[in-house]
Amino acid sequence: MKGKVLLPLDGSEASLKAFIPAKSIAEMLDLNLIILHISDEEFSDDRLLEKLNISKEGLKCFIIRQKKGVPETVIPEEARGCNYIVMGTHGKTCDESSRMGSTAAAVVEASDTPVLLIKPGADLHIKDGRWTPHKTLIPLNGTPGSAESLDPAMDILAKTDSEVDILHICGTREEEEGMEGEYSAPYYEDYPQHEWNSWAKEFVKRFFPEIKKHFKTRLSLSHGDPGEEILNFSRKNKNDFIAIVWHGTMQHLRAQTLKRLIFECSCPLLLIKLKN
C-alpha cells in the first residue's frame, strides 16, 4: 500500500507554508498527500482547496480529508499509518513570539509519526515548485537508538543530492552511562592525526553501516550545550534542513535542546521519535 504524507491545514498563511514541503516529500517518495482540514463546516473539495489557497494544478496523488473535532486529537489520530506529518509551527492564531502553536506542540508530543515542522518565516529552497534540502544537518548523540531512528530522514535524503553534516556533541561520561553500544568522542586522543580519522570511520560504521554511498557526508564534533552547538553549527554551515531524534516528551525541563531549536531555527525541522 502506498504511504502517506499528512498535511494539516487550517486556511492560514502560516499553515500553508508547509504545503510545498509536504507536496515535495510526497512526490519524491511516491507517497499520497493527505490534505487534512478540521472544521465543523464541510466544504466541497474544490471549495476547500480554494479556501486553503491551493491550486489543483500540479497536484498528483492527493486525498482531501475533512474532519470535525479538536485538531490536537484529530491530527495524531489521522497520522496513524502515515509516513510523515508536515505542518506549520503556527496556524490561524499565529503568535510568532511563542515557540510553536498549541496544535503543533500537541501533535509533536502525541504522534509517533515523524513531524516536519515549518515556521511561518522559514527559509525554503524551492526550485520548479519543489522543496529540496541542499545542506542537511543531523545531530547525533552517539546512542545506537538515535541512529536507528533516522530512517525517515535518510529516505528523504536518498532522493536528493543534499550534503549531510553529522554533528556529534559530546556529553559527559555521567550522561552517557547505561546504554551498551553508545559511542562518543574518544576519551584518549593519543595522536590527533590518527585518532580522529579512526573515530570518524567507526562512528559512521556504527551508526550508518549501510549508508548510501552517494551521500556527501561530513562528520563534525563539538562539545558544550547541544542546543547552542547545533544552532551555531547550522548558522555557520548554512544548513537548510535539520533532522533530529528525540525522546518524545516536552514536559517541563525535558527536550530543552529541541525546544530551543524549534524556537530559534529558521529551516525545516524533522522531529523523529526514538524507536523503542
Binding site: A185, Y187, H194, E195, W199, K201, R206
Partner: protein, 790 residues
C-alpha cells in the same frame, strides 16, 4: 559439542575450565570492538576476528608486518589491508546460514587459553526449523611464522539435508587502491597472489582444507564433492555433502602467507608450507601451535589470587602481548595498534620500546632483541632524519615504518575543521634516547655482550651524537635543550623538558660506559665501528662532560622537577571542575588554552622517575607524584598504566589500583570509544609493567633485581615468572611474604627493599618477610615449595 578426534591419531580437547572474556551477545554497534578484542596474530600476521559469514557491520581485515605501501598522492607509508582468510559460508539446502534471518539459539566467542585459539560457538535455527550447531576455531601459529589455521565443526541436530561449505580467502577486504590481484591458480589449493600497486612487493596466501565426517563413532574422509573456485573477489574451496542428523562434520584448514620479503617466490613457498606435512597438514600445525602457546603462556603468566576479574584483565593483556611479539622484530616492529586494525596506519611509535620492551626483556629476551634489531636496521633512516633536521647522529622516526624515515604528518584536520600543525615528528626527540635506554636495559637483563658490541653500541653512539647536537651551552654554564616536545604533548616546543633532558643525560652516560667497555673488551670491534660511523675519540670525551652539566630543572627544596622551563608560571586548572567528562581536556579547553595551562597529557616527569626509579628517594617520588598527578588529564592511553606503576611505588595503593583498572580496561572495558581501530597494545604492556614493576616493585639495576612489593588489598597473592641473565625466576608475593625461586646455572643478586642484597643460588627458595613496612630476608635457604616451583 565437546571433545573431537581431529584425525585418526589426534584428539581436540575442549577447554572447559577457563573461558574468560566470553562474549555471548551480538551487538551491531560494538561488533568492530569485538573483532579487535578477539583478534589473532603472531607478530608477522595479524587478523581481526570477524564473523566468518560477514555482515555490513563487520570490518574484516588481515595485515602482514612490514607490508607498507605508499601511493603517488600519499606523504607516508602505511600498512595495507590484505585479503581475509577467515571467510566461511555455510548453506543448508540452498539457504545461507546467517544470523540476520535466523533464530540464534546460542552464540558465544571466547579466547581458549588452553589452546591459544579463538573460538566461536553458534547454534542456529533457520526459517524451516532446522537446527545447526557450528563451532569455528581459529589461530595464527606461534610455532610457524607463516601458518594460520581454522577448524569448522558442523552438526545438523534435527535434520538431514545437503550441506555446502564455501571456505577460503576473501579478497574484497583487501585495499585495491594499493594492491593488484594477480589471480593465481594453484592446483588443489585456494590461493591468492597479490602485488603492491606502486612498488613491487608481493605476497601470497594459500588455503588447503580437509573434510572429515564422524558417523556413529566412525571417522570417514569421503562422501563429499570438492571444488575450487578462483575469482577476482577471492579464492575458495567448496565442500558439499549430504549431512545426516546427529553426525558431525569437520573441515580443517591450514593456510600460509609468504611475502617477497621472505623469498623470491612467495606463492610456491606458501604452497610448500601447506604441503610440508602431507595429509597431516592441519593437525601438525594445530598441535605445534598449541604446544608453543602453552609454553609461552607459562613463561609469561601472572597469576592473581583473590580477584577473578583482575585475572581476566591480565590474561587478556598477556594473550595479545604474547601473540604480538612472537615473530616481530628485525625488519618490522609492533605498531601502535598491533596488527589488529588500521588505526595509526601500522606506524611504530615510542610505545614499542617504552611500554612493550619491558615485558619481552624480562619474559622472553629473544623477542626484545629482535625488536631492538628493528631499530638497528632502521638506523640509516634515523641518520637521514637527523641530517634532514640539521642534526648529527641518528634520530629515530617518531612514526616509523620499514625505512625508518620519519612518517609523522606535518598537519591534520580536526573534526571541527580546524587545521593544526603536527610537531611530534620534528620536535619530539626523546624517542632516540628512549631506544638507547632500552638497549642498555636489554644488555643489563641478558648480559648479551655480543649484541651490544655488534649492534647496541652503534645505536648508543649514534643517538648520543644526535643528543649532543641538540644541546646549547648557555650563560649558566649548563647545557640546555630548547624548542622540544616531551611526552606531555599538550606543551609543544618548550625549553628544557625535564624528561628529554634526563633521557639525554642517560644516553651520554651509557654511551660513555659502552665506549669504555668496548675499548677494553672488544677493541677491534670498536675500531671497526668508529671507522664505520666516523666516530672520534673526543666525541666520547664530550659526552662525559655533557652528562655532568645538563640542566635538570630540579629544586632540592621542593624536591620537584619543573616539567619544562616556565611550567610553574602557567595557569593552574583544577581538573575536578571538568569531571565527569568523556573527551580529552584539550578538546574541552581548546589547544591554545590547554597549552597555556598546567594541564598535562600524560606522565612526563613521572615517566623518567619511573624509568630510573632506583635513583630517587620515596620522598622525591611522592613530592612529584602529588604535584603532577592532579594536573594530568590522561589524554593519552599510555597515561593510566604508568600512573598505576608509579603510584604503587609511591605507596598510594588506592590510586595505583584505580589506575590499574582504568588502564587494563581501555580495550576490553568498552569505555573509551576507540578499540574498534585496533588493540592499544602499549596499554596492555602497561598492565604487565604496573603489576611487575609497580605492585611487585621490581627495579632492574646493573647489580641485579630489586623488589619492594606492596599489593593492593583487592589481591591476596600474585605470582609470576621472570628471566634475568639467562636464569629463570619464579616470584610469589603476598602481603607480608615474598618467595623467590631461581632455576638455572648461575647465581644472581636480589635485593628486597633497597640495599638489602643477597646472592641467590639456583635450585633454592628464598623468603623475604615484611615487618614494620620493611622487607627483610628470612635467614636460611628453603626447600623448594611445590606451589612456587610449579
Amino acid at each position: 559439542m565437546g571433545n573431537f578426534r581431529l584425525s585418526y591419531t589426534f584428539k581436540y580437547t575442549e577447554s572447559k575450565e577457563y573461558r574468560p572474556l566470553a562474549e555471548k551477545t551480538i551487538l551491531p554497534a560494538r561488533e568492530r570492538e569485538i573483532e579487535t578484542i578477539f583478534s589473532m596474530g603472531n607478530g608477522y600476521i595479524g587478523t581481526r576476528n570477524s564473523l566468518e559469514e560477514s555482515y555490513p557491520i563487520s570490518d574484516p581485515g588481515s595485515f602482514i608486518a612490514g607490508m607498507y605501501v605508499r601511493g603517488p598522492e600519499d606523504d607516508f607509508n602505511f600498512l595495507v589491508r590484505i585479503p581475509d582468510w577467515t571467510a566461511i559460508k555455510i548453506y543448508v539446502g540452498d539457504k545461507l546460514l546467517n544470523m540476520k534471518e535466523s533464530t540464534v539459539l546460542h552464540h558465544m566467542r571466547y579466547i581458549d587459553f588452553k589452546n591459544g585459539t579463538v573460538v566461536r560457538e553458534w547454534k542456529n535455527e533457520d526459517e524451516e526449523g532446522r537446527i545447526t550447531s557450528i563451532k569455528i576455531i581459529k589461530y595464527i601459529s606461534l610455532a610457524e611464522k607463516h601458518e594460520f589455521g581454522k577448524l569448522l565443526i558442523i552438526n545438523p541436530e534435527n535434520y538431514s539435508e545437503e550441506i555446502r561449505v564455501i571456505t577460503g580467502i576473501n579478497c574484497d577486504t583487501a585495499d585495491f587502491r594499493y594492491l593488484l590481484n594477480l589471480n593465481s591458480e594453484a592446483g588443489n589449493f585456494a590461493s591468492v597472489l597479490m602485488k603492491t600497486r606502486y612498488t613491487d612487493k608481493r605476497f601470497a596466501l594459500t588455503h588447503k582444507s580437509d573434510f572429515m565426517s564422524h558417523c556413529r563413532g566412525k571417522i570417514e574422509k569421503k562422501g563429499y564433492d570438492y571444488s575450487i573456485n578462483n575469482l577476482f573477489s577471492g579464492s575458495y574451496e567448496k565442500f558439499q555433502w549430504y549431512g545426516e542428523i546427529g553426525n558431525t562434520y569437520l573441515i580443517k584448514t591450514l593456510g600460509c602467507v609468504f611475502t617477497s620479503n621472505d623469498s623470491g617466490d612467495p606463492l610456491n613457498n606458501a604452497l610448500a608450507c601447506c604441503e610440508k606435512n602431507k595429509d597431516n597438514f592441519f593437525d601438525a600445525s594445530y598441535v605445534n601451535h598449541g604446544n608453543k602457546w602453552r609454553e609461552r603462556f607459562r613463561e609469561s603468566r601472572i597469576k592473581i589470587t583473590g580477584n577473578a576479574y583482575d585475572q581476566k584483565l591480565v590474561d587478556f593483556a598477556l594473550y595479545h602481548l604474547i601473540t604480538a611479539g612472537e615473530f616481530s622484530g628485525n625488519h618490522y616492529s609492533i605498531p601502535a595498534r598491533n596488527l589488529s586494525g588500521e588505526s595509526y596506519e601500522g606506524h611504530v611509535f615510542w610505545d614499542a620500546e617504552m611500554y612493550l620492551l619491558p615485558f619481552y626483556t624480562y619474559t622472553k629476551p629473544e623477542i626484545a632483541r629482535n625488536l631492538i634489531m628493528y631499530r638497528y636496521n632502521t638506523l640509516d633512516g634515523a641518520r637521514q632524519n637527523a641530517a634532514n633536521e640539521g642534526y648529527k647522529g641518528a634520530s629515530f622516526a617518531w612514526e616509523s615504518t620499514d625505512s625508518g624515515l620519519e612518517s609523522a604528518p606535518e598537519m591534520t584536520v580536526l573534526p571541527n575543521g580546524e587545521i593544526i600543525m603536527i610537531y611530534s615528528g620534528k620536535y619530539e626527540n626523546h624517542l632516540s634516547s628512549g631506544i638507547a635506554y632500552t638497549v642498555w636495559k636489554y644488555w643489563q637483563a641478558t648480559s648479551d655482550d655480543e649484541f651490544t658490541a655488534d649492534y647496541g653500541a652503534e645505536i648508543l653512539f649514534e643517538t648520543a651524537r644526535f643528543c649532543a647536537s641538540l644541546l646549547k651551552k648557555q650563560d649558566d654554564g649548563l647545557y640546555h635543550i630548547n624548542n622540544i616536545i616531551g611526552p606531555d604533548e599538550y606543551h609543544e616546543c618548550v625549553d628544557n623538558n625535564a624528561y628529554t633532558n634526563y633521557m639525554v643525560k642517560n644516553n651520554f652516560d651509557i654511551a660513555v660506559k659502552t665506549y669504555e667497555w668496548m675499548k677494553s673488551k672488544f677493541p677491534e670491534k670498536l675500531a671497526k665501528l668508529k671507522e664505520k660511523i666516523n666516530l672520534e675519540d673526543n666525541e666520547a670525551e664530550d659526552w662525559r662532560e655533557f652528562k655532568e652539566n645538563i640542566y635538570s630543572g630540579y629544586n632540592p627544596q621542593t624536591k620537584l622537577f619543573e616539567q619544562f622551563k616556565g611550567y610553574y608560571e602557567l595557569e593552574n586548572i583544577d581538573l575536578k571542575d571538568y569531571e565527569p567528562r568523556s573527551v580529552p581536556m584539550d578538546v574541552i579547553l581548546g589547544r591554545e588554552k590547554t597549552a597555556n595551562s598546567q594541564v598535562i597529557k600524560q606522565a612526563d616527569v613521572l615517566m623518567f622517575m619511573m624509568l630510573f626509579g632506583e635513583r630517587f628517594s620515596k620522598e622525591q617520588l611522592i613530592a612529584n607524584y602529588d604535584f603532577y598527578e592532579k594536573k594530568c588529564g590522561h589524554g593519552s592511553s599510555l597515561s593510566p598504566g604508568i600512573h598505576s606503576l608509579i603510584a604503587a611505588r609511591a605507596g598510594k595503593m588506592r590510586d595505583a589500583y584505580r589506575y590499574f583498572l582504568q588502564n587494563a580496561g581501555i580495550d576490553i572495558g568498552n569505555s573509551f570509544g576507540n578499540a574498534a581501530g585496533g588493540i592499544h597494545i602499549a596499554s596492555l604492556g602497561g598492565v604487565w609493567m604496573s603489576i611487575v614493576m609497580g605492585f611487585a616493585g621490581m627495579y632492574p639495576v646493573d647489580n641485579g633485581l630489586i623488589f619492594d612489593p606492596e599489593l593492593p588489598e583487592e589481591w591476596e597473592k600474585i605470582e609470576f615468572p621472570l628471566k634475568w641473565r639467562n636464569q629463570q625466576l619464579k616470584i610469589v608475593i603476598n602481603h607480608d611474604e615474598t618467595r623467590f625461586y631461581i632455576s638455572g646455572d648461575k647465581e644472581i643478586n636480589l635485593s628486597v627493599g633497597f640495599d638489602n642484597w643477597k646472592k641467590i643460588i639456583p635450585g633454592n627458595e628464598y623468603i623475604a618477610v615484611k615487618a614494620n613496612q620493611k622487607w627483610k630476608w628470612k635467614e636460611g635457604v628453603y626447600e623448594r615449595e611445590s606451589a612456587a616451583a610449579s
